[in-house]
Structures are given as structure tokens and as C-alpha cells.
């Protein structure tokens, strides 16, 4: 009898890998992370010496089509796309992670507390999220960024400010549904204090679905990030960033479509992969879907 158990971890992997598209998504996301890691630690592995800036080649400033020398061609100012994209992934991933994680951490903490404590605090926090939601997020991010200065750091700050209410609401809803469950009642019965209940019973059950949301949101933030970059939020900083790279190619849209297609595709592909992975993870964490 004892032997027939399937280990939790193995079942989780089984569920994740049964879903082919989720598997593909996970592998792709991992590739992006590996690239970022290499760029951070040892960029020479990919033959790159200056991972923090774009290398312009004013000798042939017009975009060139893909060739042996430039596997993905070049874009404006003669910038080689292949190496720039490899560099840019690290930047975009870092910015995206910074936005999503800070938004998620702040939001979930506030949401869980307000759901758990309830009362006036809860009411107050929900009104605040209402207010933030009452301005289109792109517009709010623009306005905030405008006031605190148009830099990449302020862009992270602006987007995190816009994003935390989503997590606050989500964390709150999850907390509210867990708070009334009998196992929490049972803990209250023998006198466990609120803080301990929060950390022992509520938080561990809130985190998995939040984790899924985070992985999906990685894919949402990156396009928004590049969009902000596109509308000229950041004055030209010559940083390897996918949105900026795409924008560079836009002037040559008709003559050199690859200059837009490749960086654009890299953004889209990441977003797609993160979504697929998120969907797979949702199945893994949801016991109901798991057993199907």
C-alpha cells in the first residue's frame, strides 16, 4: 500500500509536461534566463565584449539584411541585431522582473493583510486600488514617469506603482476565501494568534496562485515596457533594450523589415512563452485541474 504513492514533485512535473505547449513555454523562458545569466556572468561565451551598450557602425549606417557576418542583419546606425538582442534580453528581463516582483511583493503583502484584518483598513486599501484602476495604466505610468524624470529606473518605479493594486486585489481575494475555511477556524480554536495563522496557514496557500500570476505577468510587462520606450518615454540612452531596438528599425520599416521583425519577435516570443508557462503552472497548482 505504502509503495503506490506518487511523489508530489513527480506528479507536478507530469502534469506540467503532459501539456506540450506549457513545456515549450517553460523551455523558452528558461532560454531567455540562460541568456541573461551568461550576459551577466561571462558574455564572452557568446563572443560579446561590451554587454552594456550598443555598438554603432557609422561606416554602414543603413540596415543590412541577414548575412554570415550579421546573422539577423543590422538596424539603424549599423548596429548588429544578433549581438544586440542577446545583450538586450538581459536588460529587459531585469527590468521586467524588477517591475513584476516589486509589484507582486508590495501588492500581495498589502492585499493579504487587508483581507486578513478586514474592516476599515480593508475598505481604505480597496478604495485606493479603485483610484489607481481609474486611470489607464499606461497613462498613469506616463504621468508618474514624467514627474519623477524620464529614466529607466523611473519607468520601473512608475510601472510597479501601477501594477501593485492588481496583486493587492488578487492576494486579498485569495485571503478572504482561505480565511473562512475550517482549518483556519480550527487553528483559531486552540488559540493560535492571528500572525501565526497568517504565516502558517494563509500565506502558504496564497502564494502558489500568485506565483502563477507572476509568471503570466512577466509576459505582460515586457511589451508594455517596450511600448513606453517606443513612445519616447526614455531619451536616447544607447542601452541595449528591445523596445529601443525595435524603434530604431521603424524608420526603415518598408526597406528593411527585419530590423523591426527580429526585436519585435523576441519580445512577442517571450510574452507568449511566459503565458504558456503560466497556464501550465496553473494546472500544476490547482488540485482540481490536476486530477482531471
Amino acid at each position: 500500500m505504502e509503495t503506490k504513492r506518487e511523489s508530489e514533485l513527480r506528479l507536478s512535473f507530469k502534469v506540467l509536461f503532459r501539456n506540450k505547449s506549457a513545456l515549450v513555454g517553460t523551455v523558452l523562458v528558461l532560454l531567455y534566463f540562460i541568456d541573461a545569466f551568461v550576459m551577466q556572468v561571462y558574455p564572452k561565451l557568446f563572443g560579446i565584449t561590451n554587454p552594456n551598450s550598443l555598438v554603432e557602425n557609422f561606416a554602414s549606417p543603413l540596415p543590412l539584411p541577414p548575412s554570415v557576418l550579421h546573422p539577423l542583419g543590422t538596424t539603424a546606425y549599423g548596429i548588429d541585431l544578433w549581438s544586440s538582442i542577446l545583450k538586450a534580453i538581459r536588460f529587459d528581463l531585469a527590468y521586467t522582473l524588477a517591475v513584476v516582483l516589486s509589484g507582486a511583493v508590495i501588492g500581495v503583502i498589502l492585499g493579504v493583510i487587508s483581507g486578513f484584518v478586514g474592516g476599515a483598513l480593508d475598505e481604505f486599501l480597496m478604495r485606493i486600488t479603485d483610484i489607481v484602476f481609474s486611470i489607464p495604466y499606461l497613462v498613469l505610468a506616463l504621468a508618474v514617469g514624467f514627474v519623477i524624470g524620464r529614466t529607466y529606473t523611473s519607468m520601473i518605479f512608475a510601472l510597479a506603482l501601477v501594477w501593485w493594486p492588481i496583486y493587492a486585489r488578487y492576494g486579498r481575494a485569495l485571503t478572504l476565501s482561505i480565511k473562512t475555511l475550517p482549518y483556519v477556524d480550527s487553528a483559531r480554536l486552540y488559540g493560535m494568534n492571528g500572525l501565526k495563522i497568517l504565516f502558517k496557514h494563509v500565506v502558504p496557500n496564497v502564494l502558489p496562485p500568485v506565483f502563477v500570476q507572476v509568471s503570466v505577468d512577466l509576459g505582460v510587462i515586457m511589451p508594455i515596457f517596450s511600448t513606453l520606450s517606443f513612445i519616447g518615454f526614455i531619451p536616447n540612452a544607447n542601452l541595449p533594450e528591445l523596445g529601443y531596438l525595435t524603434t530604431l528599425g521603424l524608420n526603415y520599416l518598408q526597406s528593411a523589415p527585419w530590423a523591426v521583425i527580429f526585436p519585435g519577435a523576441i519580445i512577442t516570443l517571450f510574452s507568449l512563452a511566459a503565458n504558456l508557462m503560466g497556464e501550465g503552472l496553473r494546472d500544476v497548482f490547482d488540485p482540481r485541474r490536476r486530477s482531471e
Binding site: E2, P182, P287
Partner: protein, 423 residues
């Protein structure tokens, strides 16, 4: 007496329309007293919305009562003294006893000690176990939390408890979702008794289970009670289970206690009209019985009926059960417009809570109708007098009142039928 609760009330506020003005209240439990002696199983039965689960939560302090008093582990002598003090209005004596025994006035450290003596099992076996903890951690939690036992001793005790609830020891390392419903409920039971509680509250412990498993769990509960000698409150909607398990029984309806006494007697020879019809509605194999089919459904707990809460459905209701002019109007309207079809232009207006005006029908005709229907339409029994009035008749009703629990035939009943009889 492990628990002696007096006049417990729990009103839950609900929003009012528009979110402005007076908030409404759901009167889930409205002035209920209950006693749970040691080494006895007390059954608490009632239909959904009767407040039985809320009462269970009040006693275990999961919900704070709006008002009332709960004494915990009182010696018989002190309890008698307390009740005497209640009756005579001796506030000082009462307060002194409450100070020593009340769950509601207890100090933090006292409460911590008491927590160890409480155990509870909930209806939904799945939701009552944290899905991310192993069975061992689940069972250990109360012991560690209340300081009952720690470390190795607690771990040893987990295995002992698993044996006690007849689960194999290796289940200690499993997660709840690997267990069947019956097994989960056994784990919940093991958790509840891990601190050797004096009071065990079981809220519908078997209603989510199959009969064959239910029988096992019920046997287990009996066994455990035998061993712990604790008081058990068994909350259930299943009368047969209550009959099988309990020594004493409480029957609730719409937040009030309607009848209480020896379980076998109350169930076999119910007296309160509600209990009578409830028992008659229980299907039993091989027993053909006359059913008393109640009309209508349990009342709305926000706008409760005036007087006795059961009177609108009661087959025995009479003059003073709390009929109001609205209820009489509805029945009269039906009689005048449908059954007797007096005239198309009859009109009934409510004139205060206990008076009506009826137009378009002669007082004689009205009187005849009311007389004829008194037997079948209970609300008409409340008609006290009929006076001719301009264009019709004016009707005055008896003013009803709410019954209280009174001793009768070896039990306590809250019904005016028995109050008047004993007078």
C-alpha cells in the same frame, strides 16, 4: 457541567439597501441556553438556518456572542448557586461566579488553558485540513500550540492518536488530498482529541460521508467519548444519527430552542408541534407513518415572524401565537377573492399590527366565512372581534406573545399550547 450557556444571542449585521441608514441584522441565534454535562453526548438538531452551527461556534468562542453568558467546567453546586442567583437577581453572586467560570470574561492566560480543553470537528473533511501540511503536522499543531505537549512526546502521540482513530501509522506522512473523506474525518477527529479536551464539538461530522463510513465514524466517536469522558456536542440535521448517538437532545428552529429533553423521549414522543412534524418527516425504513407536512419554509432570519417563530407554519397555532394583521390579510384576501368570491371589489387594509378594515363585504357574511374557516385557516383563529364599520367591517385581533421554555412532561418546551395548559 462542562458548558452552561445562558441566553446566548448572535446577531450578524448585514448591509442595508443603498448602504445607508439603519443596518439590518440576521438573528442567527436569539436567546438560547444549553448545557453540556461531562461524559454525555448532547445532540443539537435543526434544519438549515436554525442557528445550530452558529451556536456550536459560539460555545467554542470561534464567534463572539452579541450577548449572553457561557460558563465552562462549573461544579454542580456552583451551577445551582448561579441559577439561583440568576432567578433572584443577585448580581454580586452572579458576577463572582462569572468571574471564575465565564469563558467570556476570562483572562488571556486562563483562556489559553481552556483552549486545550476544546476540540472541534467540522462538516467538510477536505476544507478542515490544510492541504499543504502532512497529517502529522496537522495532528501535532494543537498540542504544540496549546503547550499540551512538545517535540518527541508530541510526535509519539501522533502515532498513538492515529492508532486510536484506526488509521495506519504511515498515514502520518501523507497529505490530506491522498486520503478518502472518511480518513480525513478520522484525522480531523485525531486532531480534535489530541489535547484530551473536556469538550468536543462535532459540527455535522458525518453529513459529507457515506452511510457505511458514517457508521464507522459514529462508532469511533462513541468509543472516544467513552475513553475521554468528555462532554460532546453533536450538531446534526440527521435525526436518526442524533437518536442513535445522544443522551440529551436540543431542537432548534429559527434561532430559538423549541424543545429539549431526554433524546429518546423527545424523538419518540415529541410534544412541540414543530418537533412533532419534524420527527414525522424523518423517513425510516419499514415504518409507515402519518406525515404531518408543514406548509411553507423556515422564516427569514432578518424579518422574523411576530410572536412564536413557528406560528405561520404551525398546524396547531391558535389565538395568541403572534398573528399579525398582515398575515390575516393575506389569508382573508385569498378567502374573499378566491374561495368564496364575495365580490370583485373587496378591499382589505391593515390598520395597525392587530387591526384590519375590510370593505365590500357585509359583517355578517364575513363572520360566517371566518367561522367556517377557523378550523382550516389558522390565522383566522386570532380574530378577536368584528365590528361593523363604514362600507364593511373592522376586525380586531388577539395580541400574541412569544413563548418561553417551560418544563412539561419531563422536558422543556417553548410553546404557548403547553404554557396555557399548565396554567
Amino acid at each position: 457541567m462542562i458548558i452552561a450557556a445562558y441566553n446566548l444571542k448572535k446577531y450578524f449585521p448585514v448591509g442595508s439597501p443603498l448602504g445607508l441608514g439603519r443596518t439590518l441584522e440576521v438573528k442567527a441565534v436569539d436567546g438560547v441556553s444549553i448545557k453540556i454535562p461531562a461524559d454525555e453526548i448532547v445532540g443539537l438538531v435543526g434544519e438549515s438556518g436554525s442557528g445550530k452551527s452558529t451556536l456550536g461556534r459560539l460555545i467554542t468562542l470561534l464567534t463572539k456572542p452579541t450577548s449572553g453568558e457561557i460558563l465552562f467546567d462549573v461544579p454542580e453546586g456552583v451551577l445551582a448557586e448561579y441559577e439561583q442567583a440568576l432567578e433572584s437577581g443577585d448580581a454580586d453572586r452572579r458576577k463572582a461566579i462569572e468571574h471564575d467560570y465565564s469563558l467570556l470574561h476570562m483572562s488571556w492566560s486562563g483562556l489559553k488553558r481552556v483552549r486545550r480543553s476544546l476540540g472541534m470537528v467540522f462538516q467538510d473533511p477536505t476544507a478542515s485540513l490544510d492541504p499543504r501540511m502532512t497529517v502529522k503536522d496537522i495532528i501535532m499543531e494543537p498540542m504544540v500550540e496549546t503547550g499540551h505537549m512538545n517535540g518527541e512526546a508530541a510526535r509519539e502521540r501522533v502515532f498513538e492518536l492515529l492508532r486510536k482513530v484506526k488509521l495506519p501509522e504511515y498515514f502520518a506522512y501523507r497529505y490530506p488530498h491522498e486520503l478518502s473523506g472518511g480518513q480525513k474525518q478520522r484525522v480531523a477527529l485525531a486532531r480534535a482529541i489530541s489535547t484530551d479536551p473536556k469538550l468536543l464539538v462535532l459540527d455535522e461530522p458525518t453529513s459529507a460521508l457515506d452511510v457505511s463510513v458514517q457508521a464507522q465514524i459514529l462508532a469511533l466517536i462513541k468509543e472516544i467519548k467513552q475513553e475521554l469522558r468528555s462532554g460532546v456536542l453533536l450538531i446534526t440535521h440527521n435525526i436518526s444519527v442524533a437518536y442513535y448517538m445522544s443522551n440529551h437532545i436540543y431542537v432548534m428552529y429559527a434561532g430559538k430552542m423549541v424543545e429539549t429533553g431526554q433524546a429518546k423521549r423527545v424523538i419518540k414522543e415529541p410534544k412541540h408541534p414543530y418537533t412533532v412534524s419534524l420527527m414525522s418527516a424523518v423517513p425510516v425504513i419499514n415504518v409507515k407513518k402519518e406525515r404531518i407536512i408543514l406548509r411553507g419554509e423556515a422564516p427569514n432570519l432578518i424579518f422574523l415572524p411576530y410572536g412564536c417563530r413557528f406560528h405561520p407554519r404551525c398546524p396547531m397555532a391558535f389565538e395568541i401565537c403572534g398573528w399579525t394583521s398582515d398575515e390575516v390579510k393575506e389569508d382573508l384576501q385569498y378567502l374573499l377573492e378566491e374561495k368564496y368570491y364575495v365580490d370583485e371589489h373587496t378591499q382589505i387594509t391593515v390598520d395597525g399590527r392587530f387591526a384590519l378594515k375590510i370593505f365590500g363585504v357585509s359583517p355578517e357574511r364575513l363572520k360566517a366565512i371566518i367561522e367556517a374557516e377557523r378550523e382550516s385557516v389558522a390565522s383566522l383563529r386570532a380574530v378577536k372581534e368584528m365590528l361593523p364599520a363604514e362600507g364593511g367591517a373592522a376586525v380586531r385581533l388577539y395580541q400574541g406573545f412569544e413563548p418561553t421554555l417551560k418544563s412539561y412532561d419531563g422536558r422543556q418546551i417553548s410553546c404557548l399550547l403547553f404554557e396555557t395548559q399548565s396554567k
